[in-house]
Symmetry: D2
Subunit: 257 residues, 4 copies
């Protein structure tokens, strides 16, 4: 059994730093790199891709609605065509930094509000998937488990992986409890570890209201910008390893097929 | 004998239109497409690349300093490393739109103040050339004739083409007379035609102060955003054709070698 | 009887021009000036305020969601607190240009998607009204007739004027038919004139589905960016004058009280 | 004897935080608040002005060239007219937040590259001064001691205060040693304290090459974004108080006259 650990990276901007990229990079297997629309800038993207290369971490693009002030967390009434072109632009930009560092861009994972909208709105999900495929049909699409993004990946013929969240509470329908709801973000390390362990080992997650929800994930999203993040990621790794689960990039696994 | 006609394209932004792209595209052989830093946005880039494809026009990236309000015409004290990453970002973004339309990106031509700074500052020119090469070593670099960009292309091993301007006055040293100087932009059609004809046919240009300056150009920059632009480009084409000069993309020529 | 004619102005950006401000300014009594979030920039704002001063036109601020690429026409999931601060910022910026030109800023009219959201969402409307009042309690708020903005103006104690649209179709409930619906924008001059004449003279408007809807407007919004705009505004003026309706700034009227 | 302590504040942006505003605010007498061009955004500006109000700290505007990625530290080839309008825009925006919090905006201090350019280029300095005066002729201008900004303030009739830097090395001509030069930023607490003490008490500063340079300052700029910043500011305060120098806002002092 195996699983991938992915983390949002390169979310600084100009003089601003966000997240502990240097500390987190050695602990994950995939880096979802911001592309300048919700965070990051050309210099930050370059540094982040270089850091991923040094640690042998797979690089994915993390495109967003154009909203730096809101960090891409606010829904924007963009048409599918606008989303398509925004994603194309961002993925192409990050692809160039991968080229410059001799890496192959591996996947696309929409960020924040775009991820949530795409999970529920198939037109938007298809726009994301088609833009991804237009850049490189060999790219993977990272999808909220059970969401419309999975359907969009299937329809466009893109490889995809379903994603689980280590520190986010789930609703009974398998969707994420919105950040605005109390209890939506898990802070207790034991709870987080347990959630990851069950997701990967038993393919189930306990919802916020106590139901057992089936889930099928190939990658676990961890966060690198909260206090104690590094310790928590280390604890997750150790737990998974103790349970005999190998941690490796999802994108690598399937390339072998 | 042959020459390329290139024009800056896709310089609208959001609801704004600039230039007569639809009218000019059928008349040129290369389109230098803005990449979102001085002008353009993802939707405009997509429309412009699609238009170029329809007319069989070669597409190049037209990266700039990040300065939309100043249209990339203001010098910004950016380091060569910042220029490198800014160019990489922009070229990658446009590359993606070319991929989506089944085209190959052909060349990079820096815009406005970046073009002028790169012409005189070798570190900046090298930053542009290295970013171009990092995306694709098969890309061409479009260089002000006789400038530092030519030297940078040579040092990095990039193919390059020297550019002449149909409607700009030249100084005795072969540089462009700055836009702020009276007489720097030629408005007289006969004068423009004559300048192009001599540049291509005799490899010389008359400087603003009357000297004969040697010049060796493979592409002529025409403008599509001035009154009478379309008529002027047509007149240039007819003049060149009358003189037996074939108009074709510079990037195509060398691919045949 | 009297009415005000207002027009969105200063909607260019950098090198881009939009609308026929020079031609329209002499024909209207109030100018709603963009503040840099959906359109405009400091130089454009200054030129526009100066132009309004020259023609004795009352100046209002036209704040928007931060969305230049979408021209402020896309709904953004901003909190009321974010809207409040965004409006405060924009109104303050325009206020400074009025000060520099010796004018008094007269009113605030939210733009595009913000106008539409505020019309239906009282929290957003209150955020706009409170930010307006915070800058100057003597400012007017321009409100879609019968909308939540009117209620917000009342609650905050702001003076307000209700607005009718010369060239937009109305729904039976007095709201504007969305731009995405066929027939939402009136192009026929006679139809536009008739709509304005009835709004002002009879306080009624014919809805898109033929109902007679009561309406009470103190200002009519005309547009200056469509073909034939200037002729249409002139026709509206003449029609109103023929009917004995005086055209003067709404903000001036009440100052006399 | 008395002096003012000012600190750049509100330099976060969206989710990003920069500087220890909450800790530093109680220790200074003037807050130079970023206005959205090099840093800050409407929400950050509001929070910062509110914080200043709570601590009775005088608020000034800290306008910049439009360059968020470069944090306003890169020279931009803007015309004096562009600088004028950019400053007007930013000062007006911050003025509105002061109004909303019941404060009076007290001063303008240009940021980063704009401060340095204005110090040496009188046209740019005059543009800054005139924009400041246009908003409110009662505003103060904060000027590098002995620089062109002082001259610009005199010519426009603006009140001004000369500024000294606690932790920056000086050249023999009284200008700041550029940040790119080794030793330009002082890190040794004793050295910093000593420099402040001499500036205020003896009206002299030791240049980086050992000369004694006369200087006449009414405000000392301290920084709140370096490790140990809070301790250092506290040490400066204690030193000044031990030497019998009162710390109070420069803007308050002169209002009493």
């Amino acid at each position: 059994m195996n699983v991938d650990l992915n983390c949002d990276m390169g979310e600084g901007y100009g003089v601003y730093r966000l997240g502990l990229d240097e500390d987190v990079m050695p602990l994950v297997t995939s880096a979802s790199v911001a592309c300048g629309f919700h965070a990051s800038d050309p210099g930050t993207m370059h540094r982040t891709v270089r850091l991923a290369r040094r640690h042998g971490v797979a690089v994915g693009a993390h495109p967003s609605y154009p909203d730096r002030i809101g960090f891409g967390r606010r829904v924007l009434e963009a048409t599918p065509e606008e989303v398509h072109d925004d994603v194309l632009y961002q993925v192409g930009a990050l692809w160039a930094f991968c080229r410059a560092e001799g890496l192959r861009l591996r996947y696309v994972k929409p960020h924040g509000a775009l991820y949530n909208v795409a999970a529920k709105n198939l037109s938007v999900a298809l726009a994301v998937a088609e833009a991804t495929k237009a850049v490189d049909p060999g790219l993977w699409l990272v999808c909220l488990s059970g969401s419309g993004l999975v359907e969009a990946a299937r329809r466009t013929g893109l490889r995809h992986v379903q994603e689980g969240f280590a520190d986010r509470a789930y609703a009974r329908d398998g969707s994420l409890v919105p950040r605005s709801v109390q209890g939506s973000v898990l802070h207790d390390a034991a709870h987080v570890e347990e959630q990851v362990s069950r997701m990967v080992g038993e393919r189930r997650v306990r919802s916020i209201d106590g139901a057992d929800v089936p889930i099928d994930v190939g990658t676990i999203c961890v966060h690198g910008d909260t206090p104690g993040a590094v310790g928590l990621i280390r604890a997750i790794r150790e737990r998974l390893e103790r349970e005999g689960i190998e941690i490796r990039p999802f994108s690598q696994q399937e390339d072998k097929t």
